[in-house]
Amino acid sequence: MRDAFVRALGEIAARDPRVMLVNGDLGFGVLTDFIARFPDNYVNAGVAEQNMTAVACGMALAGARAYTYSIGNFPTLRCLEQIRNDVCYHRADVTVVSIGAGFSYGQLGVSHFATEDLAVLRAIPELTVVSPSDPWQAYSLTHQLHALGGPSYLRLDKGSAGLSEAPIEIGKARTVREGSDAVIFATGSILGQAQAAAHDLADERRSIRVVDIHTLKPFDAETVCEAAQACGRVITLEEHVVNGGLGGAVAEACMEGGAPVQAFRRIGIPNVFPSVVGDQTWLRAHFGLDRMSVAKAVREMLQ
């Protein structure tokens, strides 16, 4: 996804000289081509994320279209107040880009698990929050965020859901599989596990709808309520703690929208700090976020 983001940003910078990529001293090898092509549109702010975000905000307030770039929690939680007070309160044109959603850096330990960002960031006014499932979505959403303007957060996963390319629009949930027995809402590349589980369950004559929530904010409550109403049983799947992220957003939408939900389950990381490491696939299975675990959870719900 990061390559797709950098490719899109290069296209944007080629026609918009206001672009400024403010890097937090990361992205070895990934940004080389961008830096060579656009040396005047790039600055490395060093290992100093608060200042990276503040500088990006100041540049935006003076006319730039700024992007901050780092991994995991560094461009988000480390400098959360700069995002809230400086970028969002002033509606500055800053896109915060974080590489390594969820367990992307699963072997690196708790410091590198980006597993609370969605809950934290979707609470901040003015911030658009997007979480693509595949590189083609990262590419499309990067272009769309630039066109939209204002503060935004782009959550990039190392993995990929493996879904084929289709039109998407910021703020509009996308139904990737029709179904009527239950609906799984998913965000990010973990969407691929939901899609695979629905495929497996189809063999058992279970009709599972799968909805891609690539935009957490603004939240498409209408589509979510429609799907919840049509299917009655609701599952949310996110590579994120179960508190306050996608599961919370879907629950809020369903309750306030009066959707007649018969059963509801959030699948995500329990609200604990993992004491073990592993690659993304292993950690997903360990915490019950993989294809088999999701299918099992849906089966239990349908019994």
Binding site: M20, D40, V43, A45, G46, A48, Q50, N51, T53, A54, V55, A56, C57, G58, M59, A60, L61, A62, G63, A64, A66, E81, Q82, N85, D86, Y89, H90
Partner: protein, 275 residues
């Protein structure tokens, strides 16, 4: 603009005392501490146009020590960004004039602050972008001394020096008192000038209430390629004898006899003091 900065500073002090009294707000001592610095900036140094607050060629001023917001609102009103009558709404229910300086619906405020350690980084970004666009604007950021405990300032100090942001000027209101006690008894900043020099900044050390000295410092911009910091030795509560050097007046709002005594000291007669 030519302006009697001494008269403006006195007027800012009166406004600050009245606003902190009528609104029942804190931080009167902080507002009095920076009144001379702010008078020089808004009366003489800043290239700004009150009729066109978003003029692209304007200089930028950021009050990073947002708690002294009353003084900035007063300066903006005195310069005509909005009517002085609006100052009476400071701290009141429904007012845009929050205790910590805010830009929403307040013409002339460049950056809302209140959490310390935000202004210098944003100012550095502004300075970099303005230079990138070929502009000659300057960016001024007023910090408190206690604020320099925040590590983000030193991130910004590294950045500004590395990128030779000569159009960036920080001013530290060095009144030697922070929230609970003296700076040197809390987290010592001395040798303060040496720290900034070591970070690659040009340092001007001045009496922050001496307008000639401040004027010289603001115009002392050399041909150097370094950002400048003006370390302004100030007195918290300056101008009202019983507020000077007192941590208490970081919090206390002047009322009744204290208000009358304060206004008399800063040149209001009894009649005006009662107004």
């Amino acid at each position: 603009m030519t302006c009697d900065t001494e008269a403006l500073a006195l007027q800012l002090r009166r406004r600050v005392v009245q606003m902190c009294s009528s609104g029942g707000s804190s931080h009167v001592g902080s507002g009095l501490s920076i009144a001379d610095i702010v008078a020089l900036l808004y009366g003489e140094v800043l290239r700004i146009d009150p009729a066109n607050p978003h003029w692209p060629d304007r200089d930028r001023f950021i009050l990073s020590k947002g708690h002294a917001g009353a003084c900035i609102y007063a300066a903006l009103a005195e310069r005509g960004f909005f009517p002085v009558e609006q100052l009476g709404a400071h701290y009141r229910n429904g007012s845009n004039l929050s205790g910590h300086v805010s830009h929403k619906n307040v013409p002339g405020v460049e950056l809302s602050t209140g959490s310390l350690g935000h202004g210098l980084g944003v100012g550095a970004g502004m300075a970099m972008q303005l230079r990138r666009m070929g502009g000659s604007q300057r960016v001024f950021v007023l910090l408190s001394d206690g604020e320099c405990d925040e590590g983000s300032n030193w991130e910004a100090a590294l950045f500004a020096a590395h990128h030779r942001l000569a159009n960036l000027c920080a001013i530290v209101d060095y009144n030697k008192l922070q929230s609970l006690a003296a700076i040197e008894d809390t987290l010592a900043l001395e040798p303060f000038s040496d720290k900034w020099r070591a970070f690659g900044w040009t340092v001007e050390r001045v009496d922050g209430h001496d307008h000639r000295a401040l004027r010289a410092a603001f115009h002392a911009r050399t041909q150097s390629d370094r950002p400048t910091v003006i370390i302004a030795d100030t007195v918290k509560g300056r101008g009202v004898s019983f507020m000077e050097h007192q941590v208490l007046w970081h919090y206390r709002s002047p009322q009744g006899a204290e208000l009358q005594a304060a206004l008399l000291e800063i040149g209001y007669g009894g009649e005006q003091a009662n107004a």
